[in-house]
Amino acid sequence: MTTTASGTFDLPIRVKVAMYFRLLALQGSWNYETLNGTGVGFAMEPALRLLPGGLSGRAYREALARESRYFNTHPYLAGVAVGALARAELDGVDPERIERFRTALAGPLGSVGDRLVWASWLPFCSLVAIGIYGAGGSALAVVGTFLLLYNAGHFLLRAWGLRIGLSRGLNVASALGNPVLRQGPLYIGYAAALIGGLALPLALQRITGPGRVLVGGIIAAAVVGMLLLAFLREQAEGWRIALGVLAVFVLYSVLT
């Protein structure tokens, strides 16, 4: 470990690899008390072993306890926090300052991650896969494209987060100004809307089979329903309505 002759911070590669793989299991003990706090402690633990006294040292135990408390952030960007906090612990930063930093970092990381991943990248990749299905793609093409595309972004984002966290430590906040994090959701959103406009009718057409009149009728009914559901968006969950309508339809079809 830690600070090299040139003044840059570094960890042994095995420690970084261990932290990266543990980040994949960050939410293994997710619960309503500490949220992903225990996962942060679990992911950071290999680095904390490098504290003075090692595994049996007081510094290790105090840091592990501190880092396993309540924390809530986006799992893919948690590497930023894990890296930055690990560096702060290894640099011997005052525990109170670490606590304040922990509290300040969680919210922005969660918000950026939610916007970039859950509300942009995931729907975008889903729509691309649905589009490939609609265009006649095989099961392998649809699933393979989805998994490769989605996980290229997923695994790179996790790796970037850990690297930036370890390299910048408590100065990591400026990394959240990265253009991909700030502008990414906007451009991915536009691309998703364009692909969605093409992919959904294509997929409907393939599921329904030949017949322009039937497809036209389905799309007209879908547009009316979409407008209604979009109007009710704060009051209704689409999948619950789908469940209810489907249950009524199945019951009707069985009884008639």
Binding site: Y32, P123, G189, Y190, L198, L202, V250, S253
Partner: protein, 227 residues
Amino acid sequence: MSLLEALPIGLLGSLLGLDVVSFPQAMVSRPLVAATLAGAFVGNPPAGLVIGVVLEMIALDTLPFGASRYPEWGSAGVVGGSLFAAQPPNAPGALPACLLATLLTASISGWSMVVLRRLIASRLERTRDRLESGSREALFSLHLSGMSLDLLRGGLVTMTAMLIFSPLVKAIVAVWGSESAASHAVVVVIAAIVAGAALWKIFHSLQRVLWFALAGVLIWAVLLVTR
């Protein structure tokens, strides 16, 4: 379906259920993937893909934000894919009946995740003193038991759902009264409505986003006319 037949599907459901939150969140638990894999498991990947696409459209409505409660699509996708892939080809009621079974499974499986999270929290409460003293063993035990329980949860949900819904779907398909085209159309309309409204919910705050969506629809219309 016997317990022995449900076991391998249950194993797939437990692995994909684990991916939803615990490990590694690589989205192999998305219904599109889960249902297709399950279809392949049963020997009919194209059928798994069809119900997977329908489920994926509906799943766009439930993105896993923070501590929100949402249906669990990993195990449910496996149930849907296995059920639909096992139905006779072109059976009129197969898609709606399997979709209904899948949505019910997703809902119950989502609830099982809430129960698991409470269970982990109560275990955490019992080991809080050890965690506060920096016990590595306590942290590892909590974390690894949480993941193991999640694995078990997904498997149990999948197997139970298969044992209940497999004969039920078969019975529904046998007495189905609606026409095949109408049955498919109803499912497709439901999926399209949910997907469209979900996309609007996600992206409506972006300026001019509607124009991009309309441009996509226009490309589709041009393709439809020229093909």
